[in-house]
């Protein structure tokens, strides 16, 4: 019997990850305002098509505005050549990167993302379940972080972010918890490097590989062949 991790919407998580990294990497070397705008625009259209909460999307885009502005104005101030182009290019790059990330983070759950990477890119199960285990403890980690700080305060120590004692406690807690969790998982039947029944179906039709490959090729051809402004 198979089940889906959550109701999958849109493209497969592996396809999206491939697009995100496959375009995100060459984007670093491309020099085009237009292409940045197109990448960001297409990303936004995809999010709109999937009806992702527009309030959330606008909030994230708004929060990134000062960073894009920082990039823009730093080239305006410190740039040596072609400031106008560079300012807009590095300013718009912030949004191209951000939207490439958002097509994955805003449309795919952590579980589906990891399972998809496992099924289609052979991410070992130790990483899939290890990461899931740790991510599910995020709230406890937050709580523990505050507890570490408060208990130090009770002894009159203020654990600042550059104090090695803070990290010692983090390492010790992580060591203990990882041990407990790994033991619990093993006792529930998790075996290292053993084949597992794949309970979650995550179909990846061939056309999606084609789509990801096609977009990456088109992007690279445009960025390094056409080189628009």
């Amino acid at each position: 019997m198979t089940q889906t991790a959550d109701t999958p919407r849109g493209l497969n998580a592996a396809t999206l990850t491939l697009i995100m990294i496959g375009i995100g990497f060459p984007l670093t070397f491309a020099q085009s305002v237009w292409l940045n705008t197109i990448v960001a625009g297409l990303g936004l259209l995809y999010l709109i098509a999937l009806r992702v909460s527009w309030r959330k999307v606008s909030l994230i885009l708004l929060i990134a505005l000062p960073l894009a502005f920082g990039s823009w104005i730093s080239f305006w101030f410190f740039g040596t050549v072609d400031r106008w182009h560079l300012a807009w290019m590095y300013g718009s790059r912030v949004y191209a990167y951000l939207l490439l990330g958002m097509i994955v983070t805003m449309t795919v759950s952590t579980q589906r993302w990891l399972v998809s990477l496992h099924l289609h890119f052979h991410l070992p199960n130790a990483f899939v379940f290890g990461l899931l285990g740790a991510l599910n403890m995020a709230d406890r980690v937050r709580h523990e972080f505050r507890r570490i700080q408060y208990s130090a305060l009770m002894r009159g120590e203020n654990l600042r972010l550059w104090n090695p004692l803070l990290y010692l406690r983090i390492v010790l807690v992580s060591l203990n918890w990882s041990n407990d969790l790994a033991e619990a998982m093993t006792s529930q039947g998790f075996t290292e490097n053993a084949p597992r029944t794949e309970l979650i179906a995550d179909p990846m039709p061939a056309w999606q590989w084609g789509l990801a490959g096609g977009l990456i090729v088109i992007y690279c051809a445009a960025a390094f062949g056409l080189r628009p402004w």
Partner: protein
Amino acid sequence: MQHANSQVAQVNPVRWTIRDVIFLALIGVFFGIIYQLWSYVYYALAATPLKPYANDMTIGVWIMAGPLAGVLLRKVGASVIGELLAAAVEMMLFSSWGAADLISGFIQGIGNELGFAATGYKNWDKLGLLMSTIGATIVTFAWDWFQSGYKAYTPTMNITLLIIRFVSIGFFSGVLVYWIRQLVAKTGLLK
């Protein structure tokens, strides 16, 4: 604590157990919280023309997870995988920067990893951390040369940025990681 004892002490330079993964991922979650606190400082500076300086001053903080994983687990690939795990946690829990998180996590991890590799994975002490600082400084600077457009800044500004970056990585990912390792060693968990 007894069980934990065997975890770090047992050094298998290649194989990754689920315990290693959970351990680094949990550290990654803790780091996510620390990054959030630092990001307020970064954010305040990064919204101004001083953004490149903000990048280089805080970079040591963002890449700490890599060398820390290296000195704690002493495995080939620990810095890259530790940094990637922290990036994956960061991506799924705390930020929307997916692509940037994973790619820069990989680049930063590679820089540290090259440093430890330069010692033949034999020195996880001061020398290893110095090499990993140098590796990370060079690799991340080369990356920002393209990614953040440092090539368009004046040479003087670039030299200043390079020095700031070296000091930041040297302190957070070198000295601080070394102190943490010393403290963990004192507990007897690192044999």
